[in-house]
Every structure is written in C-alpha cells, then in structure tokens.
C-alpha cells in the first residue's frame, strides 16, 4: 500500500470519526471501505498510529476507549471549551459514585451486596440513574430467594470514563487479612502487657507491617 493510499485512508478515518461523534472500532472503520479497497487490520492499526501522531499540537486527540477510537477535545482545553455549555458538568453524589465503584470493581453484584458493604440502603434513584445513563446493566439474577438482579458495568461506562477496559481502573487499596489483624491485635495486647510490666516495646512497623498474605490481594493485582 503506497503512501498516498495510506493518507487517503487516514483522512477517511478522521472524517468518519468526526462524522460519527462517538467511538468506532477498527472493524467498523474497515467496513466503510468497499471490499476491494478494504485495508487489512494491520494497515488500519498503522493508520490509527499515524492519525494519533497527526493530532499532535491540535485541539483534539485520538483516544482509544472500550468501544473503539474517538476523536476528542484535549483535556487541557476543557476549561475553555466547557464555556460553550451553559450547564455546568453534572456532579455525581458520593452515594452514586460509591455504588458505581462497587459495581465496577465487584461485578456482578446485587443491590443487597452493595448495601452490605456500604452499610446503608442504596436508593432506587441511584440505580435508575446508573441504568438510564447505561453505565450499568442487569446481567442476571442471583439464585437466592427473591432472585435479586446482578449488575455489571457497560462499555458505555468505560467510554465515558475514557477507559479501554476494567483493568485500567485505579487499583483498589489493600485490605488486611482478618487473621493477620487478629494476630496483630494479639501482639499489641501482648506488648501492652509487657509495657505495663516494663518490658521491651514492639517496633511500630510491626503494627502496620506489610502483609504478604492479603486475602484480597488477588483482585488488587489483577486490577493493575
């Protein structure tokens, strides 16, 4: 494929992404071409690299998100561009964000399970908002009494937050293993007793020491 041809494919790709105003994946882009001129996937990938480079120094950039590629305004210009819109960008309540975070990191999860971790009722409004925004969807029902709906995040959720996959979410903080906590508490108690008895004090590091046997470290690592 010669240079001129590649440039044409690149221009068509840029035109299509701007016409769509939403992400398009490689195959959707390739479908725009007639069979006899359709670029191979590798060619298309090369074109996307070229296009990304061609956006250097401009007002927009090529971003890869879950549903494909999107041309979007560079973050650094959001303060000016944002003035185009009368309404302030919507803010989301902590309740909503916590619910969303639980669904994102713990999917599939039921409302009851969310409530158990948050320690409060999840209002129907929040669930409805998340469903309406198409950030979450029902992916099934847990086989327990009441058959509660299980929620998972959607591709739109990832697109909205500029992510290509769940693995791009910030890692969850660590949770200390309960057994470890038990041992530590025991050790502290022991130390206190010794302190009262005039014995040696434990190193503070022991208390907050690194825990290799972290029960939840499994998902901590996979989220990296």
């Amino acid at each position: 494929m010669n240079e001129e041809n590649l440039r044409r494919i690149q221009a068509i790709t840029e035109a299509a992404l701007l016409a769509a105003g939403k992400p398009l994946n490689l195959d959707q882009l390739r479908e725009l071409f007639d069979e006899h001129e359709r670029p191979a996937r590798q060619v298309m990938e090369h074109v996307m690299c070229q296009l990304a480079a061609a956006c250097d120094g401009r007002g927009f950039e090529l971003k890869k998100v879950a549903s494909g590629y999107r041309l979007q305004v560079r973050e650094e210009y959001a303060p000016w561009v944002g003035r185009l819109f009368e309404e302030r960008p919507q803010r989301y309540s902590r309740a909503l964000l916590e619910t969303l975070a639980l669904i994102a990191y713990r999917q599939p999860i039921t409302r009851g399970e969310i409530e158990e971790i948050r320690g409060v009722t999840v209002s129907s409004n929040i669930v409805r908002t998340l469903l309406e925004r198409e950030w979450v969807r029902v992916v099934g029902h847990r086989d327990v009494p009441g058959r509660p709906a299980m929620y998972a995040t959607t591709r739109q959720f990832l697109d909205y937050f500029n992510l290509t996959g769940l693995d791009q979410l910030p890692p969850l903080s660590e949770v200390r293993d309960l057994e470890e906590i038990g041992r530590e508490i025991e050790k502290n108690m022991q130390a206190e007793i010794e302190f009262e008895a005039g014995g040696p004090a434990p190193e503070p590091d022991d208390v907050a020491g690194d825990d290799a046997g972290d029960a939840d470290s499994a998902d901590h690592q996979t989220l990296h």
């Binding site: 105003g21 305004v73 964000l97 994102a104 320690g119």
Partner: protein, 285 residues
C-alpha cells in the same frame, strides 16, 4: 443529589479540621497504648451547631462513613480502634441528632447497638484459652470498616478519572451532503409464496380459478408482448414470434396473443384477406 456538594465541605465546617487520613500514620502514636489510657490527647467534646446537624448527617454516607470520619479525626488506625472512645463519640452524634428530632436512618441505630455490644464484650475479662482471631469482638467491625473504606477510596478515584463532558468532549464535525444509499430489504421467494397463500386463502381463489403452470408462462408472454406494443404504432404479428424458441415458444406466444385479444388489451388489424396482421395496445390510443 444535593448531598454531593455538601459532602466535601460539611465535616470541616462543623467540627475542628479533620485530620487527613494520610497523616494518621503511626508516627504520632505512642509506642504502646494502655486500654482506657491512650497517650494521645483526646479531642475536646464535640460541639455541633444545631442547624448544621442536618447538613452534617447528609454529609455522611451512613454509619460506616461516620465511624471512619471519627476514627480518622482521632488519628486512630482502623486496625487499632479504641472502641469505647469511638462509641462515646458516635453516641454523642446520634443523641444530638435524635434530640433535634431529625429523621435518622435505621442503619445508624443498628450500628449504635453493635458498638455498644462490642464495647461491653471488650470490657469482659479476656479468655486466653479461646482462639484469638474469633475472640476479638472488634474483628467484624474492622473488616467492614476496611472494606467500606477501600470502596470509598475507589469512588474518589472514579471521580478523578477524566470523563466526558467535564474533562473532555467528543469531537464531531458537520456532515457534507451524503449519498442516499438506503439498502433494500432482502426478500426470500418463500415469503412471496407465503404471502400469496394468504391472499389466495382469503380470496378463495383455489376454487374459482384454475391457474396452471402453462398458463403462467402464457401470462409472462402476455406481459412481454404488451411491452413490445408499448409504443403508439402497430407491430406486425409475425415479429412477435421468435422461431429460435421452437414450436412450444410459438404456441405460447400465440396463446398469449389470443388471451390479450380476449381481454381486449390489444387491437388487431388486418387490412386485406391474407394480408399482414398488425397489433397495437389498445391503451396506447
């Protein structure tokens, strides 16, 4: 979603500045602590302006959130909660809220009961012989606090992720004139037959008409002849026949012509006996 704006500001307004959780590490802690006699200064008793109370409660996402706040404000490590102190402060809030007759979510009361129970169990003499992990009454509470805290943090992280309509905007350009290329629906021949069957059933054509296979090719030929005759002029009878089709083709054309004449779709003219026969479509006149 009124609580979102308050969540960031309310705790700091209402009380003494909260200690950031990041600074609540062990460096400021005494090397050891004696139950009931921590070696750090206890904060002064809480004072909450009454009108701020509702705002204050709305700032919390439930009892776990309130507890976390109290723990952080005390510079405590979650793993090493002073249950009596936390319980006392928690109860202060609850009773203040109740005194103001604000509606209190049931979860807050459940937590109050849980704290009271843990506190009382902590006061009981420890039984050394029992297995340690199970015997610390705080364990379950600590587990829940930790679990909640990590998702509280995750929610904060989520808030920071660049998102559409706030940190970036989808780029779109106006469209030029686009070719009108609406694709045609696909049709299976079977669908047509099925549709025909429906019509026939309704019209009861099965009994009133006898349409044969031969008849169909005759009708096709009728259409063909009609389109030849679409002009205004006469066409010679012979020119309708294609000898290459063989005898059958000639017969079909002949039958078709007869049918057209019968249905008065064509007019036929012969100016002299045994002379040229000409046809033309009647409608063309």
């Amino acid at each position: 979603m009124t609580d979102d704006t308050m969540s960031n500001t309310a705790p700091a307004e209402v009380t003494e500045p909260a200690v950031a959780s990041g600074s609540a590490d062990q460096s400021g802690m005494p090397l050891a602590r004696v139950s009931g006699k921590p070696l750090v200064d206890l904060p002064k008793d809480l004072y909450i302006p009454p009108d701020a109370l509702a705002v204050f409660l709305e700032a919390f996402e439930g009892p776990l959130d309130l507890l976390l706040y109290l723990i952080r404000r005390q510079n405590m490590n979650i793993l090493d909660i002073d249950v009596s102190e936390i319980t006392r402060q928690y109860m202060d809030y609850i009773s203040a809220v109740e005194a103001m007759r604000f509606e209190l979510a049931a979860e807050y009361l459940v937590m109050a009961a849980t704290l009271a129970e843990i506190k009382s169990r902590m006061l009981l003499p420890r039984q050394e012989s029992e297995d340690d992990e199970e015997s610390d009454p705080r364990a379950e509470l600590i587990r829940r606090l930790q679990q909640y805290e990590r998702f509280k943090k995750a929610a904060e992280d989520l808030e920071e992720i660049p998102r559409m309509e706030r940190d970036t905007f989808a780029g779109s350009a106006a469209l030029p004139r686009l070719p009108n290329s609406q694709p045609h629906p696909e049709v299976d021949l079977k669908e047509i037959l099925y549709a025909l069957q429906g019509v026939l059933m309704r019209a009861d054509l099965f009994t009133s008409h006898h349409v044969e296979r031969e008849k169909l090719s005759t009708r096709e030929r009728m259409s063909a002849i009609l389109s030849v005759l679409s002009g205004d002029s006469f066409v010679s009878f012979e020119s309708l026949f294609t000898p290459e089709e063989g005898r059958l083709g000639v017969v079909v054309t002949f039958l078709a012509t007869l049918e057209l004449i019968k249905e008065q779709l064509v007019e036929i003219v012969q100016t002299e006996v045994f002379g040229q026969i000409h046809l033309r479509a009647r409608a063309a006149n």
